[in-house]
Symmetry: C2
């Protein structure tokens, strides 16, 4: 056995910065591949490949329009992600007592080292 099956899921799809850029762009309207690639400064094959990943996890949809293919956003797959991350909301809002004291300890150590 070797690597875990990254089974390209939604989390994986949005882990790549350029794919996040694509999704953000598609919030505005549908885009044909070439235009999208130019707008984001990437080659056409590159755009197509990223779009494929996004399509496979269902975050974008395609619509044929003559010889163009218009890509549009389908954000529904992001909802579970939002919910999963949201499950930590009360933790980043917490006072983090132990964390605060931990950070204080670090600072103090550093100061002592600097002496």
């Amino acid at each position: 056995m070797a690597r875990a099956a990254t089974t390209s899921d939604t989390f994986n799809a949005i882990a790549e910065p350029q794919r996040r850029d694509i999704l953000a762009l598609l919030r505005g309207r549908e885009w044909p591949v070439t235009d999208l690639a130019r707008e984001l400064g990437m080659s056409q094959p590159r755009a197509s490949k990223h779009l494929r990943v996004l399509r496979e996890v269902g975050l974008v949809r395609v619509r044929e329009a003559g010889k163009q293919r218009l890509y549009g956003l389908d954000a529904r797959g992001l909802r579970p992600v939002h919910e999963w991350v949201g499950g930590f909301e009360r933790f980043w809002n917490e006072s983090f007592d132990r964390l605060d004291s931990y950070v204080q300890d670090l600072k103090q150590e550093r100061q002592e080292q600097e002496r």
Copy 2:
């Protein structure tokens, strides 16, 4: 040039299912590595490696406790993720007129093929 520098960021850190499991576990309390590994059914080196990634992006913190190292959650780094994904909220709540009709088209095509 080859692969883009996945510069292990938070998105990447949570793209790995086992790391998400770890984070979820740490919501409860701090855990020493061995216990955490056993609880999640992974080997100790594996747990250590995942914990390292999480540590490097700042999602967990460590505290020395005798010969143990207690890992705890620091969820603050998840906030930007939550916000980024949240930027799509109105889209997954949308009626998706065009999307709906698109899905209808697909269904119809399929039915026609089945005939």
